[in-house]
Each structure stands twice: as C-alpha cells, then as structure tokens.
C-alpha cells in the first residue's frame, strides 16, 4: 500500500520567478498539489542554466527541472481581466500562494493580498522579495549577489587582497526559498489552530543575515568587525585566526582546530596520526589537549601548529586523508567537487539519488528526499512541467469548457 503524504489534500499556487522558485516545490515533496503559474510565454527562470548537454532549452534547464519537479504547470496572463478572474478561482481553491513580484505590483493590478483575502479569508500569501514589502529599499533592483552582499555575507568571504565574493553557485534565493517554505507551514499551523490566514512578507536580505550566525554579534558585543580571511577561520577565538582549508596532494581538505569535547578528540587523533607517520614536532607531542582552551589560544601558538600540519597534509591525497579520518574517527573532510558528491559512498548507501523520467532527456538522477519520514515519506518526484503543459487539465478541473479554454488561448490569456 502506498504510504500517505503528510500534506496531501492541500494546494499551492506558485507565481514566483527565480527568487522564490524552489519554495512551493519543497511543499510539493510532502504532497501539496502545486500549480506553477507562468506568463503565456513561459517563466524567465527557465533560462537559468546549466542545461542538459549544455544546449539552452526552456524544458532542459537543470535549475528548472529540479526546483520545479512535482509541480503542475499552467500559463496565465494575470495582467488581463479574464486572467484575473481565472486567478480568483484558483485562489479560492488553494491553501497557499507564493509570489516574488516587485512590492506593490499585485496591488496595482488589484489582485494583492486584500483581494485574495476577500476570495479566501484564510489564505496564506507568501511574498518573497529582496528587501520586503515596505521600507526605504523596497523598490531597489537587486540580484542574488546584491542580496548576498546587503545581507552581509559577501563581506565575510574571499581573499583579503581581492574583492569579497559570493559562492560561485549563488545561494541567496535558494536559502530564502527554503525559509519561505518553512514560514508558510508555520503560517499553516497557525491557521489550523486559530483559523487565521496570513500575508507573509519575507526579506531575502534578512534571510542572508541569519546565515552569518555569530558574525554580526561580534560587532554588537565587542565592536569587532570580522572580515574575509581567505582559507582561514575567524570567529572561534577572541582574536586569532586558524587555517581551515589545507592543500593536499590532489586538492584540498578541511580540518579545524577546535576546543571542547570535539577538539580534545580531534587534536589528539591528528597528533597520534602525525606521530605514527614520524611527522610530529616535539612541541606538538607535548600539548595537553585535554585541557586545551580554544577561545583563549594565542595566534603564535596557532601559527606553529598550522605550519606543522600544513607540511603533513601535503603528503597525502584528499581521499587518503578522508579514509584515515574515518578510521580514526576524526574530522578531516575532503573539499569535494560535484564529481566527488556524485560518487559519494554514503549517499549511495542511503539510496539518496532518485531516478526521474522525462521524454526529452530520458531518465536522470536527482538529489532525493530532503528528509526521511517514517510514516509519510516524501513523494516520488515527477518531472517539472513544460510551458502550459497542464492548461487543459487544470482549466477543465476549474470548470471551464473546451470552447472557453480555446477562447482564452486565442485571446492570449493562457
């Protein structure tokens, strides 16, 4: 017997572009019926690569395929009156709406939250925008890099002598979309308890600030502005930095000298490893790791330890070091490429990859369930929709006749 989905029976409308693209889809994994609503010419997010065989094609963007999997897709021109009437019917049928337009755009069309609330009083509208619905920057033009920068993350990353950088595969929109999915369900639980609906106003910039963890607090508490530091880790001690990423024979590994219980075990294990390979300087052999206090450690001591370890790691490949770490139960990890991830034994053993079939590409492997639920596992993924693929199906469900649908098509409404 098929197991039930946790959120079966709920429906979400997804009007988002690239900024919120994966938000509703995350709910789809738990059984929500997500209807992706695109403009008649298709969503611009379809143009975000990489593409299958590196040939741009609106149906073959991996970005689209993965982040819109498990959704049904329709086209609808919400700027036209007839389109808005159809949207009204959809809103009435839905439990969630996601959008990422410029603040005020929907209101200007007369189809903002107030309008939706009238149609469906307990609707939950989640708006995902760079800076939020209101405030001095609400109309600012942004991008993933701009959100990442204004949220303070860019400042923290990169080499000291070069401009600060984002992650080469940008993350602000993706993290904000995950936060939006969580926020919508917080709103849903609130609705189940109180009956109230919700307009959720999410700021991508503010989401990015939360990714910084304790970095802002260094200013607030100590008037220290932490700064990008190349491969070194700052923010674990009162003022020192230590190497985090280490060159090895064929790439890099990550090892962080820590204090506390983890540090006691790790530093001891690494020192033993170095002793066995006859590569441990005397001063390191004598360190009392049991009573090691990371927060108060001096830069001079860290530099000495780092130098010894730098030379040591260079003697091995990243896999050799990872295997030693596994054997010794310590935390040296490879700086993995996508190839390493695709071939990772742990993911394979957990049967993480999910096979999804699509006519234009044949079957492909996707990253699998985001969590494993014993009673209500995530639903098996279906491929992402083509432009207007489910127009017929969904407009018929809404009660429109064959001829009405044809007329909408001719008028450019769908």
């Amino acid at each position: 017997m098929a197991m039930p989905a946790a959120l079966a029976g709920l429906r979400a409308l997804d009007l988002t572009d690239e900024k919120g693209l994966s938000s509703a889809r995350i709910l789809a994994d738990y059984g929500v019926d997500v209807i992706k609503i695109e403009p008649p010419k298709g969503s611009k997010a379809r143009n975000v690569g990489p593409f299958y065989h590196n040939v741009p094609d609106v149906n073959k963007s991996f970005h689209w395929m993965y982040y819109c999997a498990n959704e049904r897709g329709i086209t609808l021109d919400i700027e036209k009156k007839e389109g808005q009437a159809i949207l009204g019917k959809l809103v009435k049928s839905a439990d969630f709406v996601f959008e990422s337009f410029q603040p005020g755009y929907l209101d200007k069309l007369g189809i903002g939250y107030k309008w939706m609330e009238k149609i469906k009083p307990d609707t939950i509208l989640t708006s995902i925008t760079p800076f939020g619905q209101d405030g001095p920057y609400k109309d600012y033009k942004a991008s993933d890099l701009v959100c990442w920068s204004m949220g303070g993350y860019t400042w923290m990353v990169g080499d000291e002598d070069r401009p600060p950088v984002q992650i080469t595969f940008p993350q602000a929109y993706l993290h904000a979309s995950a936060e939006a999915a969580a926020a919508s369900l917080l709103g849903h639980y609130h609705r189940l308890i109180t009956g109230e609906g919700q307009h959720i106003d999410l700021s991508i910039q503010a989401c990015v600030v939360r990714d910084l963890m304790n970095a802002p607090l260094f200013w607030e508490l100590s008037h220290v502005v932490l700064k990008r530091s190349g491969p070194y880790r700052v923010g674990l001690t009162i003022g020192a930095k230590q190497r985090l990423h280490w060159k090895c024979k064929d790439g890099y590994v990550t090892y962080l000298m820590m204090g506390g219980a983890i540090g006691r075990r790790d530093n001891k294990a690494l020192t033993d490893f170095m002793i066995e390979k006859d590569a441990c300087p005397d001063f390191l052999k004598e360190v009392d790791w049991k009573n090691f206090n990371m927060a108060g450690t001096s830069q001079e001591f860290i530099d000495k330890v780092d130098a010894a370890r730098e030379a040591f790691f260079l003697r091995f490949t990243k896999q050799e070091l990872y295997q030693e770490a596994i054997k010794r139960h310590m935390t040296i990890y490879p700086v993995a490429t996508v190839e390493d991830i695709a071939k990772d034994k742990q993911l394979e053993a957990r049967e993480f990859w999910e096979v999804v079939d699509a006519p234009e590409t044949g079957s492909m492997k996707y990253p699998g369930a985001l969590a494993r639920l014993s009673e209500t596992p995530c639903v098996k993924r279906e491929r992402a929709p083509h432009i207007g693929e489910h127009n017929q199906e969904i407009y018929t469900e809404l009660g429109y006749s064959e001829s009405a649908i044809k007329a909408f098509k001719q008028a450019g409404v769908i």
Binding site: A182, L186, T254, A336, L347, L370
Partner: protein, 407 residues
Amino acid sequence: MSKQSFAGLKVLDMSWIIAGPWLVKYLADAGADVIKIESTHHPDSVRTSPPFKDNVVNLETSAYFVNYHCNKSSFSLNMNHPSGKGIEILKKLIKWADILVENFTPGQMEKWGLGYEAVKELKPDIIMVRMSQLGQTGPLSNMPGTGNQLVSLSGFTHLTGYPDRDPSNLYGGFTDTGSARLTTVALLAALCYRMRTGKGQLIDASQYESGGAHFLAPIIMGYMENGDIPVRNGNKCSRAAPHNTYRCKGEERWCAIAVFEDEEWKGLCRAMGNPSLANDPKYATLESRKKSEEELDVLVNRWTSMFTREEVVEKLQREGVPSGIVNDARDLYDDPQLKHRGFFWEVDHPIVGKNRYESLPFKFSNSPFKLRRPSPMMGENNEYICTQILGISEEEFIELLSDGVFE
C-alpha cells in the same frame, strides 16, 4: 499581534550547536514550550563560543548562545549519572513531549537506550527529529563533524573564492542553516499529519543531503549528465557582466553591481556619466561584455572608487541597475531597511546585558512570534520542571540535586 498559536506544543530539545537550536527557535518564538536538555559536563559548545560579554568565557557569557535560545527554558541533566536517575527523568520528559529534537552523532541516543523504538514506546505519538551530519544510516553515519567541515564535503567550499587561490572560508556552518530551514518544513509537515491522524513519526534528516545537495542540485545534475565540474570563480556569473564587487571611496568600502540585461548596461553607462559607451559595439551585448569582462571591471572600478558606496548605489538605482552596499557586520545594524523592518530585536539578558539580536526574516500579518524571555542560564528551570511538570516532590528534588543528577 495575534495569538501565540504554538503555545501548548511541548518540545524536548536535546539538540546543540546550530542546526537543531535554529529549528527549535521557530517553534519557541511562536509560543511553544521548549525545554532544552543540557549538562555542565557536556555543555552545548555554543555556550562557550564567542562573542562573550567583556571577553569573559564561562557558560553564561556567550551572546552567540543567546541568539538561538530566547523563549526556551533550560534543564541541566546528567544522563550519565551512575544512579541512572538522569535517564529516568529524561524518560518522564519524553512522555511529556510532543516533539523530540536531537542532532548528536548517531549512536549517542542509543547508548542511553533512547533510539526511536524506545522513545516511541514511551510516547507512541511523538515526532522525533534526528538531524545528524550524514544521516542515521549508511557506513559513515557515525562520522563526527560540524558545519565547518560539512560545507566542504557538500561542495560549497570548492566553489568559494578565486580559481588561482586556495578556497575561501565560508564562515562557519552554511549547511546548518540550509538544513535547519528544510528540516523545519519536514517537522511541520509531520506535525500537521499528527493533528489529522494522531500519528507521530521519525524524521531522519541528513544535513549533508538537505543542507548540501538540495542547494547545489543543478550542478550535480550537470556533472551527471554533462560531465562538467564547476570551479570557484570569484563573482563571475555566466548570465551577467559586469557582475562583481567594486571598491568605493574609503577603506574597505565595497558595492555589488550585477548587470544582466542590456537595459541595465545602458543604465550603468548613464550612471557613470558616459551614456555613449552604451553604443560601443564592444560592450553592447552580454556576449561581448563577457569577453571584455576584466576590462569592464577596471572601468567600473575606476568610477566606483570616486564615490562613497551610498553615492554609487543611489546613482545606479536611479538608473535601474541592480546594485547594493556590501554590508559588514556594523553596517547591518545601521541598515535603514533592516531597521525599518525591526529585524533586530533587543534582548535584555541578566549576564550578557542589553543587545540587538536577529529576530525572524519574515513578517506575518497575524504574527504568533514574540520575544517572551531571554535565553536561560544553565539549568535555570530545573526546579520548576521537576516539581511543576514532572510532579517530583521538593524533598526528592533536593536529594537529586545533592546527588549531582542536575550537573
């Protein structure tokens, strides 16, 4: 403010460091009753992580800890107490709880005899969230580690920095935050299911899978189908140029500029006071701009460095060019937009003092979120929890206390 709709929801929080406490924070801020289980023998390492009040390091001085534990109460309990009384009390709390959250290295809960099956026996409809690094199963499930290392195993580190340099530090546990967001979705889905059916369940959330692979999925698929292995590449973006951070007037002052569309390029030229540059065929299309990207960066840098960040951004926004200040930590507290949203809320903590901390990045029109209390001292709520929730008598409580069960 609306009703704190999560009030009455009972959460037993055995999690530590970032991912677990982050997830539980949503529930605590919305009104849930959260009991954090701690121990002075093995304190949450965030309790001893900076920044500290006046740089004094002890269990009560970390602002980092305050950041994630407001609206929660603390119960210190020695689960390894030889009398077995620590475990006995914990079992009572499991019976009390609707939700149990833990992110130990797998095997730790089992050592205490509290794997899912045992927990379920105590409380059949409990939702148990287990969010370890690499998941509960598989050959490497019991590998130790934190987000500091997992960001590398997950592929982010390789993609951060410049191609001719060592990869850059991503500042901490980027996988913690992604996985906490997605595991919150899983938990709330399970909670809604429980309301509907009365059934609890086990959630096995691997931070490697949810904090990593989900956020890099398109390029992992790109490797599987096309064989491509992307490498860190500064701020370069295949769909935009110029696309970088640029130096502005002052020391270490930067702005970000991202030009995707030709219209935005024209806007940039106007902002730079050089509208005719837009007609130069050398830069007219994205393709040509990508070819001359280095040269363009020099050109843009020359312009931005003549002005303050604020001036540059104002000029660019007026012309419709995506741009913004590269905020540092201090700037965030002064950022007019974050201020307008009231993003930082002030927490008055008896030891750490009055400081501004992150609230939540979304605003609800009917908000259940509220700051009720600062983060607790280690074991602050022991007596209340024992006597008021668990029905332990005052005498017995004092006996347990002197036996060291609450250490």
